[in-house]
């Protein structure tokens, strides 16, 4: 019961949040919401123990597909977004055949190479990908009116609510997957590779499944991004963006569902709001880099370990007070 109340309270805060922010902070909030989906899907992929450097390019596949489908074929934008997610999942399925022959560091670099090839194809083929300039004037989400609220998707608040709904549903689906027998097998694949195989689990099939699912959600986040800013180009999905996703995830921690999300939120707020407001222009990357180093040094288990620590202390307290009550 308290859990439900907490969840409702949290939801209310998320709904009220943009109204407490300035216009530019609302813009940042939209991008942050989309990035939350990116890091959450990235964690789904890392559950099986593989770290990819191609995730942001896969996100780009979703963005390009959705943009081209809506622009060239006139497909209704929300449908195009779903198709974009599907395309990203399909591309991931195709890539999984060469990539899952590799493991560990080789997989990391192999996925990087595969991603770079995709990016070079976008650059090389001006038709249909637009070459180095990418695609411009991507159709925005069509505005609509639900009676109590008029969605004008130019306004960051409207798009935030839309993205929040999409990301919320996606997170819920990912959460369910992780809790399902399939998700438990993902964990088993990670920790007990050989054992899992010996007990009849098709390790490769589960790795592929995690990769394809994660890529689908990444593609969806790419589509959300594309139809908001209205332009994408090969550099939007380069290794620098990937490095941000990687660091958000690791700084947040991957043991819990919320770890990477926490990392993404905290680091984005620091970099885009705190450091900018403080007026560090050229110093910004320097301080950001320093924060990254300090956080992995002093919070090796990620930001999530702070939350876990707080939660377990509270539980311990409650237990203790419960015990004292019982003895009295």
């Amino acid at each position: 019961m308290t859990k439900l109340a907490a969840l409702l309270g949290f939801g209310a805060i998320l709904l009220a949040l943009p109204h407490a922010l300035s216009f530019s902070q609302q813009e940042i909030l939209v991008f942050l919401t989309i990035n939350v989906l990116v890091v959450a899907s990235y964690r789904l992929l890392t559950l099986t123990g593989e770290w990819s450097l191609g995730h942001v390019v896969i996100m780009g596949v979703g963005a390009y597909a959705s943009a081209l489908l809506s622009k060239r074929l006139g497909i209704y934008v929300p449908a195009a977004m779903l198709l974009g997610a599907g395309t990203a999942a399909m591309v991931a399925l195709a890539l999984s055949f060469p990539l899952f022959r590799m493991k560990g560091f080789y997989f990391l670099i192999g996925s990087f190479a595969a991603g770079e090839i995709i990016r070079l194809l976008w650059k090389r083929f001006r038709e249909p990908f637009g070459g180095p300039k990418g695609i411009k004037k991507i159709d925005p989400m069509p505005d609509f009116d639900i009676g109590v609220y008029v969605f004008d998707f130019f306004e960051p608040i409207s798009y935030y609510y839309f993205a929040l709904a999409v990301v919320g549903v996606s997170l819920w689906v990912m959460w369910r997957i992780e809790r399902s027998p399939v998700g438990l097998t993902f964990h088993a694949v990670h920790w007990q590779d050989r054992l899992a195989e010996a007990s009849g689990v098709n390790v490769r099939a589960y790795r592929t499944l995690a990769f394809v699912l994660a890529s689908g959600f990444a593609g969806l986040s790419g589509a959300l991004l594309a139809h908001y800013i209205g332009t994408i180009n090969p550099n939007s999905f380069d290794v620098e963006q990937m490095v941000f996703v990687l660091t958000w995830t690791i700084v947040g921690g991957t043991a819990t569902f919320y770890g990477p999300i926490l990392g993404c939120v905290v680091l984005t707020v620091l970099n885009e709001i705190v450091l900018r407001e403080a007026g560090f222009e050229q110093m910004r990357p320097l301080i950001y880099g320093l924060i990254m180093i300090l956080s992995v040094l002093f919070m090796p288990k990620g930001l999530e370990s702070l939350v876990r620590g707080a939660l377990s202390r509270r539980n311990a307290n409650r237990k203790m007070t419960g015990e004292t009550e019982a003895t009295e």
Binding site: W51, P98, R101, M102, K103, G104, F105, Y106, L108, I109, G110, F112, A113, A114, E116, I117, L120, K123, R124, V239, V243, L246, T247, I250, V251, Q282, M283, R284, P285, L286, Y288, G289, L290, I291, M292, I293, V296, L297, P300
Partner: protein, 289 residues
């Protein structure tokens, strides 16, 4: 046509020399410490900026500047080892993130100290060995090639002939067994980090007069270096050298006879092809992945 082939061969030899220096340093660090040094390209960049400061700004002799650059970057490597790679030894992903943070710091420091613009490094020598009218080998490029050969040969001798080298190879092959043999992991890590960083630094210092020196120059060499060490098989120094030479030749010839963008695609496709056929690289062993 023969002349074009010969000139392209010389160009490839030069590209191979600095690629090998950077890649071998990266392999050494990975082999001994098990961590991916994402800031390796920025160490290359620091070596080049050492030349800007010591040779171009203070007008000291070029060789002095190279020595300063190599030592300085080696010391930066020691600092990285002590500051974060050592505390994060059991946390390779943490080490990766820390090195990414460090590369952002280095880029920002250099941007603030030297400006965002490319730097000027006056030529050391403009002499050219004219073999035929169309086949020319600039003396400075020859010097870079020779310096790379000498450095790699001395590294090889160090690894094969000295006690430190033996310890280094032992911990690269099996850190736990090496520790049981009484080899100090801290010490081998320090040596590996110093040498690995110094090699990247000296590569930057040697090529500084020939390339565009700017705060973001590390990016292009790191990508090539990753391709090289993966195809070679991580942990294999010989593999890194052989593949650096092979990659430089393929890339240079494709650039000359097709174009540079196709050369990049060819390089990446070769990488994927090698990994599909032999998922641990050409000279790598499976258990270090």
């Amino acid at each position: 046509m023969i002349e074009l082939l010969a000139q392209t061969g010389l160009n490839a030899l030069y590209a191979a020399s600095y690629t090998a220096l950077v890649a071998v340093g990266l392999v050494l660090i990975f082999g001994v410490m098990g961590v991916i040094n994402f800031a390796h390209g920025e160490l290359f960049m620091l070596g080049a900026y050492a030349i800007v400061a010591v040779y171009a700004d203070w007008n000291l002799p070029y060789l002095v500047a190279v020595a300063v650059g190599m030592t300085f970057v080696g010391i930066v490597g020691l600092g990285m080892e002590r500051a974060f790679f050592r505390p994060l030894r059991d946390n390779p992903l943490g080490g990766l993130v820390a090195s990414i943070g460090f590369l952002m710091i280095l880029q920002a420091l250099v941007s603030m100290g030297f400006g965002v613009r490319m730097e000027h490094v006056p030529p050391v020598t403009q002499d050219v060995i004219v073999i035929t009218e169309k086949v020319r080998l600039p003396v400075f490029r020859l010097a870079v090639i020779l310096a790379a050969v000498v450095l790699l040969a001395s590294l090889w001798a160090f690894l094969k002939k000295t006690r430190f080298g033996w310890a280094l190879r032992a911990s690269a092959q099996d850190p736990e067994a090496a520790a049981l043999q009484g080899i100090s992991i801290n010490q081998t890590a320090r040596i590996a980090m110093f040498i690995g960083a110094a090699l990247a630094g000296v590569a930057g210092a040697l090529t500084a007069p020939l390339i565009s020196v700017n705060p973001h120059m590390g990016h292009s060499v790191i990508v090539t270096a990753f391709i090289v060490i993966i195809v070679g098989g991580i942990g294999s120094l010989e593999g890194a050298v052989i593949v650096a030479v092979a990659y430089a030749f393929v890339h240079t010839f494709v650039t000359t006879f097709f174009d540079g963008v196709i050369a990049d695609i060819v390089g990446l496709l070769l990488l994927l092809a090698v990994l599909i056929v032999k998922p641990t690289g050409l000279f790598g062993s499976a258990d270090r992945a």
